[in-house]
């Protein structure tokens, strides 16, 4: 397998991690919003920030894959 192939697998693994993380955040945020609709705005903005943190880690993986691929 070439280094490009391995880089692609790495990017895929990073995407799985980010998918799990953001899915969990999104699911919990939806649940919280359903329980307390009056907190909708606050929950949404903190969910977005948390998603950005999770995504950043995945994007580090993507950048490494870019550099290698």
């Amino acid at each position: 397998m070439t280094i490009t192939g391995i880089a692609a697998i790495g990017a895929g693994l990073a995407a799985i991690g980010a998918g799990l993380g953001i899915g969990k955040i999104g699911g919990s945020a939806m649940e919280a919003m359903a329980r307390q609709p009056e907190m909708h705005g606050k929950i949404q903005s903190s969910a977005l920030i948390l998603a950005a943190f999770v995504e950043a880690v995945a994007l580090f993986g993507v950048v490494v894959a870019f550099l290698q691929g």
Binding site: L48, I49, A52, A56
Partner: protein
């Protein structure tokens, strides 16, 4: 109308409907049929360039040339990038001001004094040429100036509206801008920094919010050929450095105490936490930098990769699928432009808030 022209008409209409117009062929010779290389094409579009390549017309590229400004041993050297005749492989040599210049992968090289043409080593790096200091007005620099002018026009005219009519309902452009400014103040600055101190940081937060947003949007405009400014790591690096400097300068006693001598934990833990907190100080701006850069670049790469599918499979049948998907991704990217500007701003505000937080008693 023959089937072929019909096909190509449909194809061009579909093609224009999506983001990136005009595939840059590196070679202006129409007789030479090069194998399509998706990776090369995508990188060409994501990278900075010395010209606006608009489209190809009858095998010849139509483009706007931008000035090349170099600082060489013989002083300032300027010429138009059209002197290279769209060559990007180092074949066309421009002689100016006692130096010989070639363009290779959108970088300008100066040939050594006695060299006649570029020689390459095994990894395709030039061996007899060096890079002069390049302060050219490239595609990214040009778009940055355009966005600065646009922001100045919009915000100066907004300010004028408020100067004229104090306390009245804003009219014109101010009616559109006011909710955005109020959003940055009430959703970003106030909750993150705190009621008493947020005013000092508002100018910076508003500047980065609108600057990042408008440059993200410029990156998606088709005719500009994706001037990928916010997908350029130098651009995001500079913005992250600004956030880092402001955070460090406005850090109060409490902030530094939390970094060097974490209160409320036992002494061995304090010693253990100190290097982690110091690393964390630098990781925050680095993650800001990478997040914006990678998000925008990844968006461009996905759209271009979907478009390349047509050329990879060499079939018009794949076009509807690929166009539909890239349209879908483009719509998502429009949302992402705003979300990334929001996230950069809110995280900057969060770091300012952490730096200025008072001690709890």
């Amino acid at each position: 109308m023959t089937l072929n022209t019909f096909k190509s008409t449909i194809f061009s209409v579909l093609f224009l409907a999506t983001t990136f117009v005009g595939f840059a062929s590196e070679n202006s010779d129409p007789t030479e049929d090069k194998e399509f290389n998706a990776k090369e094409m995508i990188l060409h579009h994501v990278k900075d360039a010395h010209e606006f390549h608009l489209w190809d017309w009858k095998g010849k590229p139509v483009s706007l040339s931008l000035p090349v400004i170099l600082w060489t041993d013989n002083g300032l050297t300027t010429f138009s990038s059209s002197a290279f005749h769209h060559d990007d492989s180092g074949k066309v040599i421009v002689e100016k001001n006692g130096g010989k210049f070639v363009k290779l992968h959108e970088k300008i090289y100066q040939l050594d004094a006695n060299a006649q043409e570029v020689a390459f080593d095994a990894e395709h790096h030039p061996t007899n040429a060096s890079m002069p200091t390049d302060i050219s007005i490239t595609r990214n620099v040009f778009m940055m100036w355009v966005s600065v002018i646009l922001l100045l026009v919009v915000f100066l005219s907004t300010a004028k509206v408020y100067k004229k009519s104090n306390d009245k309902v804003p009219t014109g452009i101010a009616g559109f801008i006011e909710p955005l400014i109020v959003f940055v103040r009430d959703e970003i600055a106030r909750p993150m920094i705190g009621e008493h101190k947020y005013k000092k940081y508002m100018p910076y937060l508003l500047t980065i919010f609108f600057f990042i947003w408008i440059n993200n949007i410029f990156g998606l405009i088709p005719i500009l050929n994706g001037a990928n400014l916010s997908g350029n790591i130098a651009f995001t690096f500079t913005l992250a450095i600004f956030t880092f400097i402001i955070t460090t300068i406005s850090g109060n006693k409490n902030y530094w105490k939390h970094i060097f001598w974490m209160p409320g934990v036992p002494v061995p833990m304090k010693i253990f936490l100190m290097p982690i907190e110091i690393i964390g100080m630098f990781v925050k701006p680095i993650s800001l930098m990478i997040r914006l850069f990678a998000n925008i670049t990844a968006g461009h790469v996905i759209i271009l990769a979907l478009m390349s599918l047509i050329f990879v499979f060499k079939s018009v049948a794949i076009a509807p699928v690929s166009v539909a998907f890239s349209l879908f991704i483009t719509v998502i990217e429009i949302i992402v432009t705003a979300i990334q500007a929001y996230i950069f701003t809110i995280l900057s505000a969060l770091y300012f808030g952490m730096a200025t937080e008072e001690e709890h008693h």
